[in-house]
């Protein structure tokens, strides 16, 4: 993701359209691309989902495994989130240890899920201090065309929402759904010049100066935020981003509800 090159002409084209409140793919500033999703696509996972936002495509899978709780939370389950920007998904992605970009993605998605209490960790205790369910949430970019934050967040939420605790496999009784309390939805604004747009595609992302990801819960409260990029956002812009995040978050929540 280091060297994102986009021609001057394409850049100017995007900025000229934005001045008229338009986007190069015909969307309004606060439109997402078409969202498609499917769950349960991977039988070997305990929960899985594929999400497409336009040409951006990602998968999420959850494996739920008995393990030892952390010393300071002996009665809580554990959530671990990883994101892989595999080279299959984009010519700029490289093999090797996780890049700062993939680490940030995983941590922001994780934060939204964790802070919203989406998964009721207290119900994942098998034996206090000894055994709890550990949820390994792994995210893969399959085709990258911008806005991995929201695509990964949505795929994660769908995979967890449909996940099954594999009690049978471990001789612990019947399989039950993972206990879910709410659906945290992230909405990412990108700042291009003085315009704020939602769900930036690859070209838009490359010429944006700043990014704000805002994750809301079912009540429209804020659970996680992350500003990125080398630019700044004004207090007014912040306010607009929050408004959009609440409105669009509700819309997406309904879509997958």
């Amino acid at each position: 993701m280091s060297k994102k090159i986009i021609s001057e002409i394409r850049r100017d084209h995007i900025f000229n359209l934005l001045k008229e409140g338009k986007r190069s793919d015909g969307r309004k500033l606060d439109d997402f691309r078409e969202i498609k999703f499917e769950t349960g696509i991977i039988e070997s996972a305990d929960g899985s989902a594929v999400v497409e936002m336009g040409k951006t495509k990602v998968t999420a899978g959850v494996k739920i495994i008995p393990g030892t709780p952390f010393g300071d939370t002996p009665n809580l389950g554990v959530l671990t989130t990883g994101a892989e920007l595999i080279p299959l998904a984009h010519p700029d992605f490289e093999s090797g240890p996780p890049s700062p970009e993939s680490i940030e993605l995983a941590r922001v998605v994780d934060r939204g899920i964790r802070e919203s209490g989406m998964v009721d960790m207290s119900k994942l205790c098998i034996k206090e201090g000894e055994e709890v369910w550990m949820c390994f949430l792994d995210l893969y970019a399959i085709n990258y065309d911008g806005n991995l934050f929201d695509a990964f967040n949505l795929a994660s939420v769908l995979a967890l929402k449909t996940a099954i605790i594999p009690n049978e496999q471990y001789g612990k009784g019947e399989d039950v759904p993972l206990p879910i309390t709410c659906l945290p939805i992230s909405v990412t604004s990108a700042k291009l010049g003085s315009s704020l747009i939602l769900d930036p595609n690859f070209d838009e992302e490359n010429i944006s100066s700043a990014r704000l990801t805002v994750t809301t819960d079912d009540d429209g409260n804020f659970r996680a935020m992350q500003k990125g990029g080398q630019g700044s956002i004004t207090l007014d812009e912040l306010s607009h981003c929050l408004d959009m995040a609440v409105a669009k978050g509700e819309e997406i929540r309904k879509l997958i509800g």
Binding site: I42, E43, S44, V62, I65, I86, P87, L88, Y140, N143
Partner: protein, 245 residues
């Protein structure tokens, strides 16, 4: 291969636990051109295996010290996703993946006209979304279609399939149970036009007779796969395959 079980893998009528005859492969689905960014791509299902392959290139070779002034090199990366297997796989490259990546790249070298692209690299990425015995063959089968989809000049397309042995029978395309509790596995890949072997591994226990039979079965299986590979590429082009570029 060394597993033992009371499970009957092939019954008196010569039927296998999934209802197949000994020389019958699992259901195979091949789709070409499934990814927008990659120069070429393919999705393959063989039984419960789900595999994606993407090709980028010919492009500049990194790291540069691997460049060959006489031809392109093929670099392959086979990767099992963490949730593709029953026990979660730790992310990152393991020794098994390194070996499979190496023999897959070698198998493809034979058919790609690498000499057309000196100093370049042709990068093949294989992602195992779901594994159920036979991922290396599914991966190579997909990679071969992705190379063709990328428009890279090739002498032929490489199909791959495994033969093997379970309950004493020589069988085509072992499923998970046959692989775990069987007596031998023989993954192989050929150049269909000449029946030359470009990938061959074997582990387990086989007499010469059994092995010869396995090879015969495998060659026939490869030709079946080959037919489906060609169909997938035909579909790709007749569907107006460049729609998502």
């Amino acid at each position: 291969m060394s597993g033992t079980t009371d499970m009957i893998l092939v019954n008196k009528d010569g039927k296998r636990i999934d209802g197949r005859t000994p020389d019958e492969h699992r259901d195979i689905k091949i789709e070409a051109g499934v990814l927008a960014n990659a120069d070429g791509s393919a999705y393959v299902e063989i039984g419960k295996n789900k595999v994606l392959a993407a090709v980028y290139g010919p492009r500049e070779c990194h790291p540069r010290h691997l460049q060959d002034p006489t031809k392109a090199i093929i670099q392959c990366k086979y990767n099992m996703q963490t949730y593709s297997v029953s026990d979660r796989k730790r992310p990152g490259t393991d020794r098994r993946s390194v070996e499979i990546s190496k023999i897959t790249a070698e198998a493809l070298e034979k058919v790609v006209l690498t000499e057309l692209y000196p100093r370049a690299s042709i990068d093949v990425y294989i992602e195992i979304l779901q594994a159920n015995a036979g991922t290396r063959c599914a991966g190579l089968t997909a990679a071969s279609v992705a190379l063709a989809d990328a428009g890279i000049p090739m002498r032929d397309i490489v199909p791959a399939i495994a033969a093997g042995k379970a309950d004493g029978y020589v069988l085509l395309d072992l499923n998970k149970e046959e692989d775990n509790f069987g007596q031998a596995d023989v993954p192989m890949a050929i150049v269909p036009s000449t029946n030359e072997i470009v990938l061959l591994q074997m582990d387990g226990n086989m007499t010469r007779e059994e092995f010869d039979k396995a090879i015969e079965m495998g060659v026939r299986g490869c030709h079946d796969v080959y037919k489906l590979q060609k169909e997938a590429l035909l579909n790709r082009y007749s569907d107006g395959g460049d729609s998502d570029e």
